[in-house]
């Protein structure tokens, strides 16, 4: 089974949505997935923050148009994509411990239900080394 490793640095709505779509594709393909949530990304995984994510990484002046288009197209939220992917295939989500601390999360219970564990950077690099596909978002 193919292994996908994702470094999720971004915590913006557009890139989280892209990550969610990619995870869904990986789930349809029964891939084993490991997501390592880095610096900015960890803010989105703090418990209660999932619906507070509304900034864009690119074309930020078109935020309202972007959100409306997603809604009109009946696109799932980034959180729903992640949930779906976890239901369909083996997806593990690890928060970088430094990233968590930056946003006030130290323990596993400080993060949302998608989160499997807190990890260090060595584990991310080892996973990237062993994966068939590695992407950084």
């Amino acid at each position: 089974m193919a292994k996908l490793c994702m470094g999720l640095f971004s915590g913006s709505l557009d890139k989280l949505t892209a990550a969610g779509v990619i995870l869904s594709g990986a789930a349809a393909d029964d891939m084993d997935v490991e997501v390592f949530v880095l610096l900015q990304g960890a803010r989105a995984f703090i418990k209660g923050n999932e619906n507070k994510i509304d900034n864009l990484s690119e074309a930020s002046h078109l935020e309202n148009e972007f959100k409306k288009a997603l809604e009109d197209l009946n696109v799932s939220t980034w959180y729903e994509f992640f949930e779906m992917a976890k239901e369909m295939t083996n997806v593990k989500i690890y928060i970088c411990s430094l990233a968590g601390k930056i946003w006030g999360g130290e323990k596993l219970e400080d993060f949302n239900d998608l989160t499997d564990d807190i990890c260090g950077i060595g584990e991310y690099l080892t996973a990237a080394e062993e994966a068939d596909i590695h992407m950084f978002i």
Binding site: V21, S24, G25, A27, A28, D29, N74, V75, M84
Partner: protein, 83 residues
């Protein structure tokens, strides 16, 4: 398979994914094919252009047979046989 053969296929399962954009149809197809037995036929209704290439490629990779696509007005039907 000819167009006529595709149209006359008896399908065991029909999935209507016309209300969703990519990756919706692929996810619907993936969920539904698990409920079928080997050799059974599934049709996926989609209005998302990307699906036309996406689902056949996925099916071949997963060991299912892509039988063909039938164009309708404003959407299309993709036929698969479970491997």
């Amino acid at each position: 398979m000819t167009l006529e053969e595709l149209i006359n296929l008896t399908v065991n399962k029909s999935v209507d994914a016309r209300g969703t954009a990519c990756p919706g149809p692929l996810l619907e197809a993936k969920k539904a094919i698990g409920t079928l037995g080997s050799g059974e036929i599934m049709e996926v209704l989609s209005a998302d252009e990307g699906t036309k290439r996406d689902i056949p490629k996925w099916a071949n990779k997963k060991g299912h047979e892509y039988l063909g696509t039938v164009e309708e007005s404003g959407f299309f039907k993709i036929y698969l046989k479970k491997g």
